[in-house]
């Protein structure tokens, strides 16, 4: 079994429902044991689009890293049949942040996720559930990466709406 950390985001349609459905689909192959609050975040890159809801989750999986990537892409395809552009609007976006402390450099897969160190919408939820997890490229913890990040427009939703129902 491998321990994995994933980031999910949505800014199209019922964003909360999209996150909920994606998490439920992920459970088919990932035994999720930690789920962050939901964060309301400003879009990055393409600014002229709705705000995102983001969260992070952690769990154990039997899938190899590349299998997990394809599994996640399948969920993205099935929940949101829309052509997507980089940084553009999406029903659901699932990124593999960390996989069992390994470093992967394939054509279609880089672990740790290249945005891990620079995006608050990724780091804030992850720091909430796994502050002591380590970036295997330089040994820094997620808490350290988070503290090193300049302030970005990322805010956790209030407690009553910051948790997903039924997940």
């Amino acid at each position: 079994m491998a321990r994995v950390f994933l980031s999910l985001g949505s800014n199209v349609g019922d964003r909360r429902e999209n996150l909920r459905r994606a998490i439920n689909r992920l459970r088919e192959n990932v035994a999720i044991d930690a789920l962050s609050s939901v964060y309301d975040t400003a879009p990055v890159g393409l600014l002229d689009q709705p705000r995102f809801l983001n969260l992070a989750c952690a769990g154990e999986t039997k899938l190899k890293a590349h299998e997990l990537l394809i599994f996640a892409k399948g969920i993205e395809r099935q929940l949101g049949r829309l052509p997507t552009v980089p940084y553009g609007p999406r029903v659901i976006d699932i990124d593999i942040l960390l996989y069992d402390g390994v470093v992967v450099h394939l054509d279609d897969l880089t672990i740790p996720h290249p945005r891990l160190r620079e995006r608050a919408f990724v780091l804030a939820p992850l720091a909430e559930i796994a502050p002591d997890a380590v970036d295997p490229t330089d040994g820094r913890t997620i808490a350290e990466l988070w503290r090193a990040l300049p302030a970005q427009d990322v805010r956790p939703l209030a407690e009553d709406e910051g948790r997903l129902a039924d997940v």
Partner: protein, 398 residues
């Protein structure tokens, strides 16, 4: 004199025929058949304690197991193991291992699956109304290149009528499938954009689809090209990166419910153990297909001769092609006009027909199911003769 001979028997069917010729009773055949064929199976990285149990059990069943001398001295080490025995020995070993701890149950299941798949004939596939009865004969796939820069000098570029004429001629010459590709995959060649690849491939596919009835495959590793090609009439996908280059490719194939050819490929030519690494990589590609929901019956495998392999590695893969039968899927082989042949013969790509023919015949002897070739007319003849020898198929051609 008793005329003692060593028989050339490699399959159950051949042994069964010899037993029948001797006049063995049916019950005797059933009991003795599993004792007639000897197999050597290699497994990797077994913990030493497990390996020692496997060795004891295999010896107790009458077989043999070879392990690392150094590994057997160290309690913490791992060792590869060569298991040697008849089908009978392996069946008894598997039954026994299933009762042991240390993950030996998993090993037992893997051994049984490997031997089953190695021995068993493949069920037929039906694509586009055509039945492919694997093992009964060799199928030939004609290569249609719509690139301006194919290595073999056959690229037709944007000349759609020429592409159609070539496809029609190939089918008349006996091609069972046509493979259409829009990106040269010769080593070191730079890739083309999705847009450019579609611009080359789609008009050709549309036109060829109108002109021939055989299944068409699209030679691409890009999911957008595959999706558009399937919509334009292609029936299967030939992915030279085995679903590893584009995470959407497996889903495009799964959603279209079409067959896919998974080819072994890698950057560079470094291997720990050539055949072991190729088998592991193909198994990984099969696992990627499974995650996306591609049924195993829609998978074909290609060891990728000429891709990520040096000359002697290409030759070794060809010589050991039958080892891929353990994966239990039809095997496609492409040696047509490739540089390994050029190195041996000292000839340019358009003068490698005899080399292609020699490797085609050898591939058939080693269990190839489909040959992907430029010279359809000639290789169809090679396949007919090789099939007559190897698969006893001569009546229908006489």
């Amino acid at each position: 004199m008793w005329n003692a001979r060593v028989l050339s028997l490699t399959s159950r069917a051949q042994v069964e025929a010899e037993m029948a010729a001797v006049g063995v009773d049916p019950l005797g055949v059933r009991i003795m058949l599993p004792k007639a064929l000897f197999r050597v199976v290699k497994v990797e990285g077994l913990p030493t304690n497990a390996a020692n149990i496997v060795k004891q059990e295999m010896l107790a069943k009458g077989g043999e197991a070879a392990l690392s001398w150094a590994g057997s001295l160290s309690a913490s080490a791992k060792t590869d193991v060569l298991l040697m025995g008849t089908a009978r020995h392996f069946a008894r070993l598997v039954a026994r291992l299933r009762m042991h701890p240390f993950g030996l149950r998993d090993l037992a299941d893997e051994l049984r699956e490997a031997l089953d798949q190695y021995e068993s004939p493949l069920p037929p596939s039906v694509w586009r109304g055509t039945t492919f009865t694997w093992g009964s004969r060799t199928y030939v796939m004609g290569i249609v290149n719509v690139t301006p820069d194919s290595f073999s000098g056959d690229g037709l570029g944007a000349d759609v009528p020429a592409v159609v004429a070539q496809a029609v001629r190939m089918v008349e010459e006996g091609a069972d499938l046509i493979d259409v590709g829009g990106e040269s995959t010769r080593p070191g060649h730079k890739s083309v954009s999705v847009k450019e690849e579609l611009r080359r491939v789609l008009p050709a596919l549309h036109a060829v689809r109108q002109a021939v009835e055989v299944p068409l495959s699209i030679d691409t590793y890009k999911s957008e090209v595959a999706a558009a090609a399937l919509a334009a009439g292609a029936d299967l996908v030939n992915d030279i990166w085995g679903l590893r280059r584009d995470p959407h490719m497996a889903h495009v194939v799964a959603e279209a419910k079409v067959p896919v050819i998974l080819m072994h490929n890698q950057e560079g030519t470094q291997y720990t153990d050539l055949m072991a690494d190729i088998m592991r990589s193909l198994r990984e590609s099969i696992a990627l297909a499974r995650v996306a929901g591609i049924p195993e019956s829609n998978i074909l495998l290609d060891p990728g001769i000429g891709f990520g392999k040096r000359r002697e590695q290409n030759l070794e893969v060809l010589a050991r092609l039958d080892e891929l039968r353990v994966l239990g899927r039809p095997i496609l082989v492409g040696t047509s006009r490739k540089s390994t042949l050029g190195h041996i013969l000292g000839t340019p790509p358009d003068d490698r027909l005899e080399g292609t023919a020699a490797t085609a015949a050898l591939a058939i002897a080693k269990g190839a199911d489909i040959l992907r070739v430029h010279d359809v007319k000639q290789i169809v003849r090679v396949a007919r003769v090789a099939d007559a020898v190897e698969r006893g198929r001569w009546q229908e051609y006489s």
